[in-house]
Subunit: 438 residues, 2 copies
């Protein structure tokens, strides 16, 4: 159950001036990440406005005790996996203590000021060592839009409304925001080509997704009941599942996406915790009339009551020419995260329903989150109807898929009445030319 406490109070302000009114990181957020400064080891941190609270230094400061100290110690290394393994209790204790330490009027301000690093001086890393990465397909409008391109009369497959469809992705190629998007070489075959060829891929696309970071796991053979699923989730980030559509079309039968998807996956580097997003949990939209009732292992009333998120998602594109002309990014899409047919709890429970072992730091992608209408579609494949209808940009340039030099930005904003909005921070990448062939 989502607990709203004093850390969410909309009147709460921080003595860190840049936090108040910050688009992503006001004191109500306090997301978890890993950062380093030149010449220093990476360690855990909490974002507050334009600053980062150093959790390794905080753990050593004498300002913490009990569960909060245990949590900060677990966040003092190069990855947050030890913290994630502790589960919600210590994470919540750390949040409450840090909220108090950063709040206006905190007596400890002089000591805490010494524990802050400027975000501008820091490199942000992946928050955890990702043991396994799984990508789901819960954006029903995306599944429908993509399905329509191939099967106009029957876009959704028969299993879609019964099974939270997912597949395994590549953990080794997940990177934090800002990593260059090296255009891959790949084997492709146009439908009318005599034979396949190998070279720089032409249909480079993005996919707008959420990333779900797992906290404590389960043991092999032991499922995770739906009522306990969110106890295993630490929080969320944005996730861009970069995709080579021409490779995908040629390689994906019969075993699914492989090299089309494993050259890079970008995440926003801050884990917005389940505690932070408690005010933004809303009811899962009712299933359309006539849709099947999910099987009991996937169904929980409490999850339906607050299993969705009041979260607006947006995608922007900026070409090299646009940046040269000083033009702002062009918005490609905007829409709510409630376009997910399955909840996060349903994803987790289904994944572990066969006893599959989940571990702290595992990453689950939701799949592309698209709306039903134009302007809300989370990939160029959908927006341009598989490349048939180009997008025109303010420079007069057009795009069907991404070109070298293009920068793609995902953003997300949690919004709810009476709550201070929070966000993820950036999730961006600039496309670079493919490596020369040997």
């Amino acid at each position: 159950m989502a607990t709203i406490d004093e850390t969410h109070d909309a009147a709460l302000r921080s003595w860190v001036a840049s936090a108040n009114g910050h688009v992503d990181f006001p004191i109500q957020n306090l997301p978890l990440g890993v950062f380093s400064r030149a010449g220093e080891a990476a360690r855990g941190g909490i974002a507050i406005g334009e600053m980062i609270l150093d959790l390794a230094a905080l753990a050593a400061s004498g300002l913490l005790a009990g569960d909060a100290l245990e949590a900060a110690r677990a966040a003092s290394g190069e990855t947050l996996n030890p913290l994630l393994a502790l589960g919600a209790g210590p994470r919540r204790a750390l949040r409450r203590r840090v909220s108090a330490l950063l709040a206006e009027g905190a007596a400890e301000r002089p000591q805490v000021e010494l524990l802050l690093a400027a975000m501008a001086d820091a490199t942000l890393h992946l928050p955890a060592r990702i043991a396994d990465y799984t990508d789901f397909y819960v954006g029903i409008h995306h599944a429908t839009n993509i399905g329509k391109l191939f099967r106009p009369d029957n876009p959704l497959l028969p299993n879609y409304k019964h099974v939270p469809i997912g597949y395994h992705g590549r953990a080794s190629t997940v990177r934090a925001s800002g990593a260059p998007v090296i255009r891959p070489n790949g084997q492709t075959k146009a439908p009318d080509a005599q034979a396949p060829s190998f070279g720089p891929i032409a249909r480079l696309d993005y996919e707008l997704e959420l990333g779900v970071w797992m906290a404590q796991g389960n043991r092999l053979g032991q499922p995770i009941p739906i009522g306990e699923a969110l106890d295993h989730v630490a929080g969320l980030s944005l996730l861009n599942d970069w995709s080579a559509r021409d490779v995908q079309a040629w390689e994906y039968q019969p075993l699914g996406p492989f090299l089309a998807k494993n050259f890079l996956t970008t995440v926003s580097p801050w884990i917005v915790t389940m505690e932070a997003l408690a005010p933004f949990r809303i009811a899962q939209p009712p299933r359309p009339e006539g849709d099947p009732q999910p099987l009991p292992y996937l169904w929980n009333e409490a999850d339906q009551r607050e299993g969705a998120l009041s979260l607006d998602l947006e995608v922007g594109l900026s070409t090299a020419q646009m940046r040269k002309e000083g033009l702002a990014a062009r918005r490609l899409s905007q829409g709510p995260a409630s376009n997910m047919y399955w909840t996060i709890a349903q994803m987790v429970t289904h994944h572990a329903s066969n006893g599959c072992e989940m571990n702290p730091g595992d990453l689950l992608g939701t799949g592309t989150i698209s709306g039903p209408e134009d302007g809300s579609q989370g990939s160029l494949m959908e927006i341009t109807r598989a490349g048939r209808e180009a997008v025109t940009l303010p420079t007069g340039e057009t795009r069907t898929f991404l070109q070298d030099g293009d920068e793609l930005m995902l953003s997300g904003r949690f919004v709810a009445a009476g709550a201070v909005s929070i966000g993820f921070g950036p999730c961006t990448g600039v496309v670079q030319a493919a490596p020369a062939l040997a």
Copy 2:
């Protein structure tokens, strides 16, 4: 290029008596693994007959120097990842020194005897922490057999002879031989059922595969040329890709296998090194007349000359009743590993061709290795024609798929004229009943 040296000499014998004539681990093999004894930390070891040479103790013994010492030190921890990361040079140096130390007449025998553990007293673990696990589909007869069940006139998809098809698997559920095979619960829907249901799966199957253990990796964005691919491979094991066929049929469209395959994958726990199998490398069978020439990035003459293995594979089944009656396992299939359409080098190079980062300890499965004829098929799905033709066992029991209590054993034997045969050791699992539903 495969180098055959004095460590392969067929006349070489060990003072470890159980090694001479050993079916898997004569002195010509010297495979790498990780073991522990009660109350001791896990550490690297080398199998020799019925004994294990303790590499942590060897590293501390003063008997090694130079590259061999570096390798043994890297093998002293709970996983062999640090050793795998060193690549072939130190691995080969360690092999040569250990071969000399274990050879009949070695002056160091009194010291080395103190470094041996009895395999009977040891628990064998996974040899490496698996960062990413990928499963290929290079067994062309398996692909054809399975394809025939669905598309009798067109069993192989158009991409098969151009692309080494693969997909990502689940690293967290790979286990060493002997791990219990807990029958998963799963969502299934029979073709004639009105709606899906959830419960113990009925069509539990195995898949006979080889596992390929990666040595040093590549950097994100940098492909691995085909001529260098095997420099990135440490060695091989057996791999059983346990499969829930009823889950697979219902879930796999459009993104491939997921819960049908990620409840357990079993490997034989010893890495038979590329050095050890050098005498067993043979020419890749020529592609059938009319098959397309692979694209240049996948083609290398040297790889074609010695990219296949002279390796006989076999699968045995023993039911609880058979064991009770003291009956030997029933052989389900037997066939050569040369039924692989793509070589290991082609798998590695294709995987990294888009710049996908590979890491030491990554595991690649070959996919099921089946022959074209009855008696050589590597899964029950093929042997029983999707459950239509039961296998009869010596007890009079029949099987279409695996039942609780069944034990399934994979084995493999490298055979070549003038060389002492070597093997992998066991790769087994006993099926247990599914957990009760909540």
